[in-house]
Symmetry: C2
Subunit: 336 residues, 2 copies
DNA sequence: TTGTATGCGTTATCAG
DNA sequence: CTGATAACGCATACAA
């Protein structure tokens, strides 16, 4: 195995010109059946595969597609990615996965690297709702926003009903008789987080139950800090009788905090299902989204967009679903 | 924003030749300070960045590095990936993440796509210990094996002490008085799984405790089937008094199975820590590996290898650590 | 239906 | 220290 075979090698072996090989590969023009057979045999024999760099340089774009997610270690993102990958694999597309690490400073180079590599399209969960550099990309490369609204952009998008799901969860806790309900979220600046908070607020408002400032914690960044925030609220004045957390990571922290030395179990609901939720005691009632389905939907949007670059942008909103397991149905417990 | 700036544009603006620009960018040859200043200004003004495709075509390799993991939805793999990414980001390398989906049929095209893209190096967790196509790669591109031994390959590798960890866990259960210990694993064919099984067997043999065939389940593929297998063993004859699972996914299933309608809690230990393990009741005793550290170690090996392609291959083995939380210290419970 | 010639943007050779 | 020019492998006008 010396040098990888090139188009020229195949052409020589098959006794035709490079152009003919190119035709067979790309299936654009018509080729005589006999010629095609010869060419295919030569390709097979040499194990030829087109050099992506050369092709990319020539045509100005790569056939790979890029994905920019915030954090691959987040189970939600990881499952989303698996859904995308599954579809892209089926479609024969090479998927380049990159992460933006929750910050524009990291996201921007990631996106630009992909853009620079002239990927055919990108799937992205933008950190911030407004970015000039993203906007510049829009006319040049198909973008699909995942889990973020294309606020000032005209791109395809896949969202879930964050507000509705959070409202349903809050109503669920209210129906169980709770009034001091805490809300824990890992970054209120995120679109999903703020919509979930909005759902929480609208349910509380509709029930005419006041939201207590000290029971809203928007400053948690990881499992440990969510646990700390939860413990602080429980140990402080006017502790909550129920807690709702707005994403899986916060939920794990919240639960860890709740499980430590409480006189009685505090009701709780998690936005986002997670592995192990049904094995905890009590099993955790959750607002379930289907990240795999989101990934598939996003991939489909991009694949169709690559087929037809024109046409109006399309927006998919997937529903959420409450899974009642026990933790959300507990009555308020009097800690005094 | 029309066309991205090219070397030629920069050269014209700076009033020098293309080659000089190239020199400045790559810092290889020496350039007069005054010239360099002019060039840098021009690069800045035009927002020029070298076209990776053109560079790759010319020099024959891409400066990106590739990662092939089995399943991005597996938390262990996801965390490993995060560790790698962190280091690669620091080193200014573009990381292309791909998955092999636990099967050579998927892994092979993934690896070959990366190879075809002439990545500078690859980090890989090969599915099968022997693959001719991987072997062919070795002389051409630096490979780092992660979590798999480079059996017939001369490549760098990062492993954890799977056998030692499993042995320690088994000894832990034996010390608590268990003799009917079950072993649940999600694919015994995997290197890590078989080494963990080996550790289990050697501890049992050393204690002269027989391994019961019906208490070894090597056929589980996901959380649901692990739960099913666990329930079957508990419901069958000679049920286990303790269960050990060989990876996080199996553990979640095992725990789900154990938590359903048992007269008393069955002792269990999980190889691999997982989010929520300490919030379960009882909290789960685990054999902890540090996937982030593994990722960092692997990335470092590759980065150093890229600096110095020659030199003997290096092998890093990271220790495991038992985290005692409760589930592994339970005594045998008599179910009769 | 097939072939020839040119250029994509970069780096390397070699000369100045 | 700097520049002209060829070449990487492929696709595409254009020609036959």
């Amino acid at each position: 195995m010396s040098r990888p075979a090139t188009l020229r090698d195949v052409a020589e072996l098959a006794g035709v010109s490079m152009k003919t090989i190119s035709r067979v590969i790309n299936g654009s023009d018509s080729v005589a059946p006999a010629t095609e057979l010869k060419v295919r045999a030569a390709i097979e024999e040499l194990g030829f595969r087109p050099n992506p760099a050369a092709r990319s340089l020539r045509v100005g774009h790569d056939d790979a597609v890029g994905l920019v997610i915030e954090n691959i270690a987040d189970p939600f993102m990881a499952t989303l990615t698996a859904g995308i990958e599954q579809r892209m694999r089926q479609a024969g597309k090479f998927l380049i996965i990159t992460t933006g690490g929750y910050s524009p400073e990291n996201e921007r180079p990631a996106v630009q690297s992909l853009a620079h590599r002239r990927v055919a399209g990108m799937l992205i969960t933008p950190t911030s709702p407004s970015h000039a550099y993203l906007e510049r990309l829009v006319p040049h490369i198909p973008l699909v926003f995942i889990d973020r609204p294309p606020v000032q952009f005209d791109t395809d998008s896949v969202l879930v009903d964050n507000e509705g799901g959070a409202r349903a969860a809050t109503e669920h806790l209210l129906a169980a008789g709770h009034r001091r309900i805490a809300f824990v979220v890992n970054r209120i600046g995120l679109f999903t987080s703020s919509l979930r908070y909005q759902g929480f607020r609208s349910a509380m408002a509709a029930a005419e139950v006041p939201i207590l400032d000290h029971l809203v914690r928007t400053d948690v960044t990881d499992v440990a800090s969510a646990a700390r925030a939860t413990r602080q609220m429980l140990a402080g004045p006017e502790p909550p009788t129920a807690v709702m957390s707005a994403n899986a990571l916060s939920s794990l922290g919240m639960i860890r905090g709740l499980h430590q030395d409480q006189p009685c179990v505090i009701a709780h609901v998690s936005f986002d299902d997670f592995d192990g939720a049904e094995s905890l005691s009590p099993p955790v009632t959750v607002v379930h989204q289907d990240p795999t389905a989101m990934g598939r939907a996003a991939a489909d949007l991009l694949l169709q967009r690559l087929e037809d670059p024109t046409g109006p942008s399309r927006h998919v909103t997937l529903p959420t679903r409450m899974i009642v397991r026990g933790s959300g149905e507990l009555p308020p417990c009097d800690r005094s």
